[in-house]
């Protein structure tokens, strides 16, 4: 097991180096001149040059690159110009916000999509199969920011059930002391149940928005994979042996149908991280997605590079986790690995 993890991590190194080089070059290729942008509306040419010097952008590209990698090796991601803060610190503060939202969205999605998919597979052509098809198609066809805005409109603006879309906590609560960075966990650790309720209430709408968006692939994959497994011989044998339908479906069919679903989950998780960018915008969520977009708009190199790098590392780790999960579910994978 450990050698497998080690091997996988080794494979990740070249891709990370590639990511560093490509993001560096891509950000430099962006149109726009950060020096002119940050010199302010009233800047003279000299003022722009002064700023450029201060930012080190007057140096040749190769020198900038070596300085960047050297800083990176020391754990320094540089400073964001738009927010004025060190990028590493900001990513550290913002990543839990995005991760908490994405994970909750994924959990909500799994809780709805998997039973829906299983039910649709066991009763193909029934009303529940159609329901599954309609909801998932609708969910994936609506852009996330639109779903988000519609939810805000109804549940906050019209009905007033949901709290104001103002980020992770109500304005008048203070954030719990950081343990994990996940407010749901930290508030419980701090025994601050009022804050916990506020954090949960703030999370519901954005998490549901993400869940609606990601229902389709999970439910469809579950359905397809269950159908295939249910038609296979060992299920027929199990049924013929007189096992109860629930045992057949849950114990035999479902477990075997899980592998492709797990693969889909990893894909869904990564594209949820992408969809997050828009959801964070709608809900004023202080996550890394909105941070990266802001930075991109103002040609702020350091946060963009930091963001892409963080994402790359997360993808590598995610794939690793999925591989390990395979082993847990399917012993054959373990043997081969």
């Amino acid at each position: 097991m450990l050698t497998m993890i080690g091997k996988r991590l080794m494979f990740a190194i070249p891709s990370l180096i590639g990511v560093v080089i490509v993001t560096f070059l891509l950000t430099r290729a962006l149109p726009g001149d950060p020096a002119a942008y940050f010199a302010g509306p009233a800047a003279t040419k000299e003022a722009v040059e002064q700023i450029r010097k201060k930012l080190g952008l007057d140096k040749p590209l190769i020198e900038q690159f070596f300085r960047y990698t050297n800083d990176l090796a020391h754990g320094d991601f540089g400073n964001s110009l738009t927010t004025g803060q060190p990028v590493a610190a900001e990513l550290r503060n913002r990543l839990p916000a995005s991760a908490e939202l994405t994970l909750l969205g994924l959990i909500v999605s799994i809780v709805i999509a998997i039973p829906l998919g299983v039910l649709a597979a066991t009763r193909p052509g029934s009303w529940i199969d159609h329901l599954c098809r309609v909801t998932t198609t609708a969910g994936v066809s609506l852009p996330v920011f639109f779903t988000g805005l519609v939810l805000v409109y109804f549940f906050y603006f019209r009905l007033g059930w949901s709290p104001a879309p103002l980020g992770r906590l109500d304005v008048f609560y203070s954030a719990p002391p950081t343990v994990t960075g996940f407010y749901l966990i930290d508030t419980l650790v701090a025994r601050d149940f009022e804050a916990f309720r506020s954090a949960l209430a703030q999370l519901i709408l954005p998490a549901v928005t993400l869940a609606i968006f990601s229902l389709a692939p999970i439910a469809r994959m579950t359905r397809a994979s269950m159908l295939a497994v249910l038609a296979s011989e060992f299920v027929r044998t199990a049924r013929a042996s007189g096992l109860s339908p629930s045992t057949v479906i849950v114990t035999y069919a479902f477990r075997n149908a899980m592998l492709p679903v797990i693969t889909t989950l990893s894909m869904v998780f990564s594209f949820l991280l992408g969809a997050n960018v828009l959801v964070e915008k709608v809900f004023a969520w202080p996550g890394i997605g909105s941070y990266a977009v802001e930075a991109l708009i103002s040609s702020d190199f350091a946060p963009v590079q930091g963001f892409v790098l963080t994402m790359a590392v997360m993808y590598v780790l995610l794939n690793l986790v999925i591989d390990i999960l395979y082993g847990v579910i399917d012993p054959r994978v373990r043997l081969e690995g």
């Binding site: 010199a39 003279t44 906050y156 709290p163 103002l166 949960l200 004023a284």
Partner: protein
């Protein structure tokens, strides 16, 4: 985890899950906190708490204005619609209790009881250090100081512990007003020096993260891109103690959500909403919407006069007759702007800026002028705009494109990303573009010096050069400094007339700053910087 704790947390979870369906229960203490707290929502937040910093953005100016004091500030007068509007010509002491203007210098006597947030008294040493800093750090602050002929540290002299003298480099009417803008704020020099380094002698890294002033508010928490929390300085000496105890300023990127927050009563104030929203909110009357013209500001269509076809004044006049002025007012601004066109034919030019031109939409005249200039069949060109203000710029450019098409002028629209806009302006190569210029100092010669003078500053986006124009602008500046008002008036009228006759840029309208707030919020004041002054505001 013990079993009991587990049960507790589970019941907490259940309660939390049920919460959205229940009305929010707010304790009494929280309600009190709400009534003394101002909740502001806006699109962007500060990137630096110090206006002297590198690349401090406009929201950062608002923090500086409220957390730092200056030597002097402006009195208020009644503006359009009875809203308090800063009085360009009347100054009052802020940190200074007395100001004495001599021929070539001005002397300020400091308040005795003024203290910085850390309790240190404000002394002449701090004032000198801060003004030295403003003229030395480079970039925008230094540029703004130079607009009032404040360029060298030697101009700031410590007379005694509580007296500072500012020596004039030359006679300039803008020197005193320039001491009342945001930039010459007074910084706690001892505290900042302690946190400065060899690489950063002015301690910019320190003041970027925290406020080190004597102002009415101090920043207690700042999460960049998310929120700024400011608390009242209970010992503020430069005016009556503000009514608002705490200001929470949250960044909400979605304009629709900002409106929803206002209409639900969760947020107290917001600006930066689409004009249509402001217009609708004004109409339904649930909120107070204040719309005031930008002082000394104009949205215009600029033309690069160094290259054909716009090097020909006839073509430029044709363009001025071809602008769909009224359509822009109605469809883009929803009426929230002052027209800068269509003055009566017999109206005499005023000694004022901005003032409307006599141009109106007249396609026949435009066609005739184009034909005279030898472009009877039109030409091809590109109109550029800044995507950061796409809400206004995009529909505006589409209307212009449509209108020009009637003259056979084929216009391509070029959308320039915000980060790139200033670079493009600096290059001075765009043939046709729309932009806004607005000066902090509200004087016609100030506007013209930056926008029309042949020294070709960044804001002379048209690269317009005319010896006659330069003579008139320089004449007005000198006349203003020496108090020769007769010459001043002739020169101002002269340069306005010339600018309208040669039209290197076509004034469209004077934009409005729009602020929407709850009915129980009072004390909004318009300032030249167009940001909020919390010191005068009250809730309830």
């Amino acid at each position: 985890m013990k079993r009991r704790d587990f049960l507790k947390s589970v019941s907490g979870l259940a309660a939390g899950a049920a919460l959205p369906a229940m009305p929010q229960v707010v304790s009494q203490a929280k309600a009190d906190a709400r009534s003394e707290t101002l909740l502001i929502v806006s699109e962007g937040g500060p990137n630096n708490l110090d206006i002297h910093g590198v690349g401090t953005n406009v929201p950062g100016y608002e923090v500086s204005w409220n957390c730092y004091d200056r030597l002097i500030s402006h009195e208020m007068k009644s503006g359009p619609g009875g809203v308090p509007y800063y009085d360009r010509d009347k100054f009052k002491g802020e940190l200074a209790e007395d100001m004495k203007i001599d021929d070539m210098s001005v002397t300020f006597k400091l308040r005795k009881n003024a203290k910085f947030h850390d309790g240190a008294p404000v002394t002449a040493k701090d004032v000198k250090w801060s003004l030295d800093r403003a003229v030395s750090v480079g970039g925008f602050p230094t540029f703004q100081m130079s607009a009032g002929s404040l360029t060298k540290p030697e101009q700031f002299v410590i007379v005694d512990d509580a007296t500072v003298r500012v020596d004039f480099a030359k006679k300039d009417r803008l020197t005193i007003p320039d001491l009342a803008v945001i930039v010459p704020c007074v910084v706690n020099s001892e505290l900042v020096k302690k946190n400065a380094s060899e690489k950063d002698p002015w301690g910019l890294e320190f003041t970027k993260q925290q406020t080190a002033g004597s102002g009415a508010y101090k920043v207690t928490k700042w999460t960049a891109g998310t929120e700024v929390v400011m608390e009242r300085n209970e010992d503020w000496a430069c005016g009556p103690l503000p009514k608002i105890k705490r200001v929470i300023w949250r960044m909400v990127p979605q304009a629709g959500n900002r409106r929803a927050l206002l209409e639900r009563g969760d947020a107290d104030i917001s600006y930066e909403l689409p004009f249509k929203d402001f217009q609708e909110m004004k109409a339904n009357g649930k909120l107070n919407v204040v719309s005031l013209p930008f002082s000394n500001g104009i949205q215009y269509i600029g033309m690069n006069v160094t290259k054909p076809p716009f090097d020909n004044p006839k073509v430029r006049q044709a363009m001025a007759y071809a602008m769909p002025y009224q359509k822009i007012m109605d469809a883009v601004l929803f009426g929230l702007g002052n027209p800068m066109f269509g003055a009566a034919k017999d109206k005499a030019t005023e000694v004022a800026w901005p003032q409307p031109t006599k141009y109106v939409t007249d396609m026949d005249k435009a066609k005739a002028l184009l034909a005279e200039a030898g472009y009877a069949n039109g030409f091809e060109t590109t109109i550029s705009f800044d995507l950061n203000f796409a809400g206004v710029n995009e529909p505006l450019c589409v209307l212009v494109q449509e209108s020009l098409a009637q003259l056979g002028i084929k216009t391509t629209i070029n959308k320039v990303p915000g980060a790139n806009w200033r670079t493009e302006l600096n290059k001075k190569e765009m043939p046709l573009f729309t932009n806004v210029f607005s000066g902090w100092l509200d004087y016609p010669e100030y506007f013209f010096y930056w926008c029309y003078h042949g020294n070709n500053s960044v804001f002379n986006t048209m690269s317009y050069k005319s010896p006659e124009m330069d003579r008139l602008i320089d004449g007005a500046r000198t006349a203003a400094a020496t108090g020769d008002m007769a010459t001043y008036d002739t020169d101002v009228k002269g340069f306005v007339d010339l600018a309208f006759a040669e039209v290197p840029r076509i004034p469209l309208y004077q934009p409005f700053v729009n602020v929407a707030m709850q009915k129980n919020i009072s004390g909004y004041q318009y300032w030249f910087h167009r940001r909020l002054d919390y010191r005068a505001m009250a809730k309830g």
